[in-house]
Symmetry: C2
Subunit: 749 residues, 2 copies
């Protein structure tokens, strides 16, 4: 029996667009058909009905295609990283980010091989690294680092090449030691140096290097000298260093060139602070009724948030809230009079997603809020929650943007048998173009009003082809605007949202509590995945109060803040964290008296007694002062004996410091790499001690020869100012009531 | 400091082709330049000097390119397998091979999602699988199987789709149980069945399925019946099965289409037997001198080799052998008079790679050998060893095909300080086109003479771009010709040789001796890698006698034969294995008195006493009779307690049997899957016993529902004919002097 022919798709292929098709959909069918002329069956995917109601649906199907055949090079370069599905999607970087580039490079025979990572600017000019390092000897895996210094669509490749000088040094040294072929090797060397010291090659060197090379060439050619001396002069460290900087490269074999989209720095490094603006300035009257806070009263909190060092003020939705099926306090089904409703139930007669809730203010008030945020050095992020309350204007204006049930009613959200009657999900398959344009206009409206970042609510419940289109369109017009994906869901979905254009993503950080799972996850998000899905670490959100924080008290809140602030270059705090709001609604991992359903007037003076606000401020200050903490792909995990004590570090090399810094300031004289070592006691209730076994190479404390240098070095605790002289195996003890963690700057001393 | 601009490449880019450039090289430069007009810097790679002697060298550099952007589909399909670097190279299959296709498929919301693997024939027509299975729930990984039935350049894709029927069944069942929305769900179902039972959809079903669906539609629409009954009629197993065979598919979202090159069956499944033809019929005279065997005398061995069930007779090189620096017996540097030399030192005044050694015979004798092999049902494989003795005609005719040293001499092979003066390596960088054409002509010459397979000696010491070009050219003219790569080297090189076109590869099998490493390696070669690098398992070769076989006696040879014959669909035996030739040259993992350097007249009558010949014959017979052993990507490993006892199985499903069989014979009535379970005692000196813990799903013995069925089943030992009734945890004992392994056919009983 051969492969079975499935004819299931035939009927759909034959089906003409149904008679009710709007003109736009028909045009789309035609456009799709054009794409599919090369393959007989592909157009099947172009026309589909998505509901059971014979509403014609047009799916913009991907054009089947594959990577074009790229012949193997003279020196093979394969498995280049970071590359997403052969370059189908672009890897990400930020201005100043140090991006590890890896490739498998190998060659026939015994001659020396090397590789260079090449960064291609948007204008086509190139920058190369010094030769990449073979990081897994025997497996031919090379690594180098690229660091773009401006936004835009960059690309990169890896060039493999033969290193005739290294080959000659190797062979000549061995043969001289064995006493064979000495004259021949000198003659070969002299011919080689004719090329190494050719005028064009010399012109590319510094005068010092050129002089070193010229002298070596002359000495090697001087037949009046003893052979050993001639060899020695051509193989000094100085000559080898000069030729490492400007090597003679034969048989240069480039990989394919892969895309690298470079975003602004805030896409990688930033501190977010979330508020419900209606709570900021809300007042509870003596009769129990409330006056809502407003955009104007909320501005009064901005100076303190800025003082704590935050870069982004993130607002939950500020649009009008529906009244039909409005939820009451603590997610009850019946709202009481005066309950403000969930800001995620968007839409009322006053307007939809592009409107501002009248209780919060006007467009002018929003402009004032944005200006005040800017005055305080912060940008404004807004929630983008693409669903509607039953009162949303779109429900009447565009019923085709919702799903209609067999009884003619519009479908509310369900997860049978559960019903969520306060929410009408948008249905993207009836009129995808119309709905897309409407959402784009909502986004552009807020951008015009000064929003520069969007926190996207549940993006995984909307089609990914919609997001890919929307993000590409916004990026083309406003490349500075950043989208944070709130997709707490399965890995494939989260990863794919990142691939198709989201700049950042919430992560599983909130649910990683134990040492091994924390370290494993930190390594995962800081590895190759970090060039696609940038993590944003949040200890809590308005939806999530994890068990560790329900039970860990103030120390627990401190622990999670340290982990978030140093585990990822972008982190976020939901307001009230300073007050250790750790009481859950029974049976739910969510705060009781949740701000989603009511006003919340907080007593901020308590925060200073608790100390968490001070910790947040200190952490943000350390993050701003240390470029190592502004990078993602630079993590090293260190061993420790105690399962409650964990250690990790971040390091940035000296040569990357200037570009990494927003101000481009060069390292001060003698400044070496920036290295931060974090040691955390995960036990919020008791002191824990441990011996650490530090990875000195990860801390940059061994010489390249791995000679185990630096038996002692200095660490300074940036939280307390204390300093220690440490060796490879220091002993630490952390008492939760005093200090939950060390955040140490490491220097060679 | 920003990225550093490296100007090292500038001089080479400016360098004009050196004056000595032959016209062909200059043309090549021009051709390369054309390819590189799109990127300013790429042409650097086009012109390079490869030696220190200013001989111009032209590298056909790969054109930098990336996979075109393919938008995400309405239902995302990512990480399709088998795909090599985004489709840069083609995955491989053989006629009748069952290829597992995997993809990550997911969707927004709670609706049911499914996927179909689609095989595209060379003519563009398609075959689909039944819906793929979700094999890693929670990770959204789907798997299906495709089975091409003819040679050629096929391709495949994965189509994800929404399953509105499954969604409706799920929701309606829950809602009926909860007593809500019953009428609504029936109404939604009736609308759905209008589409399911539409004339076009029904036309694609078998009459039985169409009748089932039509009846369900009618019952569901019959409002005179109770609601529960209407739902029940529309969700019977019969309806669900019919709609699994021909589902209603909404939102069909195809992946990219990826290449799949389908070779003839022998590329996947075959048994090879290696001989030195000069040994076959060689005679040692009383005075100690020898008469060489010839191609004619070698034919006398063919019937016995064929009788043992081998498909391929592989000849070490048969070209003239050089005399300068000829190696003597046991690899001594000085040959004695009468020493025949290594057939790998190719070339003498009598001719080079396309010539036949006069002592072996003439072209007519070779034709006779080929005809006799065919008469015995075997094809002829020839060694392709691309290096030259100092006497090779090319040395004088084409000194540019070798490396010239500074003293003007031609470079012999070296690994400093070691010298191999009997071998001149070919140098591919001076005149790549000329040398390529010459090697192609050698290969085509042997193909014209009847060779259909090449065992390529040390391909990893020649440039990979050369092989990619050669293999593509030969494939275009002779798609039946198979190349086996003898690259015992690092993984990246072995993998890449497979990617660029080698049909098969020798492997690390020879050095995998312990249980865990054997099972791990078997899984590795049978996994996704198996769609690119097809393994050929050899217990020994003329170069390799591993320690296990030096010390394991007859039982050791039996163990390795069983492992090779069942661990890979292609395996090979080097002649003399039947005689347990297990004495090494001291200090070397190679046979003493190695046939490479001398004639070897064997006493074949001993073979029957030893029993290995009989085992080889039986193993090949079992392999031919059992399609499960003719497949690669179908391995399951089973647990066993004893570290000396290992177990694995291979299974092919019933629906794949007919296409898997060369004769296309349909399964006999009631024939189920073909399942072979191998249990081996690795201890060649003592009996070992163990309880096994069998993976019943891997043996196809559980129902799809995983209900743990088949507590007992039948196994029949194909080596002894004994049968047993086994359960999930059978006990086995294997005595090396009686039987080193079970090769069991598993049936449900």
């Amino acid at each position: 029996m051969g492969p079975v022919t499935t004819s299931a798709s035939t009927p759909a292929a034959k089906a003409a667009p149904a008679k009710a098709a709007p003109a736009r959909a028909v045009e789309q069918v035609a456009a799709n058909a054009e794409h599919h002329t090369t393959e007989a069956t592909a157009s099947v995917a172009g026309v589909r009905e998505a509901t059971s109601h014979a509403v014609p649906v047009v799916i913009p199907a991907p054009v089947p295609q594959k990577a074009p055949h790229a012949p193997i090079g003279r020196i093979p370069v394969i498995e280049v990283s970071p590359v997403v599905e052969g370059g189908r999607w672009t890897a990400k970087a930020a201005v100043g980010e140090v991006v590890p580039i890896e490739a498998t490079v190998f060659r026939v025979g015994h001659d020396a091989v090397s590789a260079t990572a090449v960064l291609v600017r948007p204008d086509g000019t190139v920058h190369s690294t010094s030769p990449m390092q073979d990081i897994r000897p025997g497996l031919d895996r090379f690594q180098g680092f690229l660091q773009p210094d401006a936004e835009g669509d960059w690309s990169f490749r890896v060039e493999a090449w033969s290193d005739p000088y290294a080959t000659w040094v190797h062979d000549a040294t061995i043969k001289f030691a064995a006493g064979i072929d000495q004259d021949l090797m000198l003659a070969e060397g002299a011919l080689l140096f004719e090329r190494i010291a050719a005028p064009e090659a010399q012109a590319a060197r510094t005068p010092e290097d050129a002089a070193i090379v010229a002298r070596a060439a002359a000495e090697l050619a001087d037949t009046s000298r003893p052979g050993h001396a001639r060899l020695a002069m051509a193989t000094t460290h100085a000559v080898q260093d000069a030729l490492r900087r400007n090597p003679l490269r034969d048989l240069v074999s480039p990989s394919a060139t892969y895309p690298l989209r470079v975003h602004r720095r805030l896409a990688l490094f930033g501190s977010w602070y979330e508020i419900f603006p209606r709570s900021e300035g809300a007042v509870r009257h003596e009769d129990g009724t409330w006056s809502s806070g407003t955009l104007r009263t909320a501005t009064q909190r901005l100076p303190r948030i800025a003082e704590m060092g935050f870069d982004v003020i993130y607002l939950t939705p500020i649009s009008p809230i529906g009244t039909q099926f409005r939820k009451g306090r603590n997610n009850t089904l019946e709202a009481q009079p005066g309950d403000p409703g969930s800001p995620y139930a968007i839409g009322a007669p006053e307007g939809g997603h592009d409107a501002i809730h009248p209780e919060l203010g006007t467009e002018e008030d929003f402009a004032f809020f944005v200006a005040q945020a800017q005055e305080n050095g912060m940008e404004v992020a807004l929630d983008l929650a693409l669903q509607c309350s039953p009162d949303h204007p779109w429900v009447e204006q565009h019923p085709e943007w919702f799903r209609t049930r067999a009884d003619g009613s519009i479908a509310y959200a369900e997860n049978p048998p559960k019903k969520y009657q306060d929410i009408y999900p948008l249905h993207f398959d009836n009129d995808p173009s119309g709905l897309r344009e409407a959402v784009l206009e909502v986004v552009l409206t807020w951008i015009r009003r000064g929003v520069t970042l969007f926190r996207v609510d549940n993006p995984h419940t909307k089609p990914l082809d919609f997001w890919e289109w929307l993000l590409a369109d916004v990026h083309a017009q406003h490349p500075d605007v950043i989208f944070l994906s709130e997709a707490f869901t399965k890995p494939a979905m989260m990863q794919t949202l990142a691939r198709i254009g989201f700049h950042q993503s919430y992560t599983y950080f909130t649910w990683r509590n134990h040492k091994d799972e924390i370290l494993e996850y930190f390594q995962e998000v800081s590895g190759p995945q970090g060039s696609v899905m940038r993590p944003s670490f949040w200890p809590t959100t308005h939806d999530i109060l994890p068990p560790y924080l329900q039970h860990g008290g103030v120390a627990g809140f401190a622990v999670r803040a340290v982990l978030a602030a140093t585990g990822s270059p972008t982190w976020g705090i939901y307001t009230g964290y300073e007050l250790v709001e750790n009481v859950p609604r029974p049976g739910v991992e969510e705060q009781i008296d949740n701000e989603k359903y009511e006003y919340k007037a907080r007593t901020w003076e308590h925060a200073d007694e608790i100390g968490i606000a001070l910790l947040l401020e200190r952490l943000n200050e350390i993050r701003r002062g240390h470029p190592a903490l502004q990078q993602l792909r630079n993590l090293t995990v260190h061993a420790s004996e105690n399962p409650n004590v964990l250690a990790y570090s971040r390091r940035i090399r000296a040569e990357h410091l200037a570009t990494a810094r927003p101000d481009g300031a060069a390292p001060v004289a003698g400044e070496a790499a920036d290295v931060i070592l974090v040691v955390v006691n995960l036990d919020p209730w008791g002191g824990q001690e441990s011996t650490l076994d530090l990875d000195l190479a990860g801390l940059g404390l061994t010489s390249p020869d791995g000679d185990g240098s630096a038996p002692f070095f200095h660490v300074r605790d940036l939280l307390t100012g204390e300093t220690y002289a440490w060796g490879r195996r220091p002993w630490v003890r952390l008492e939760p009531h005093r200090q939950v963690a060390h955040v140490l700057q490491v220097t060679r001393g």
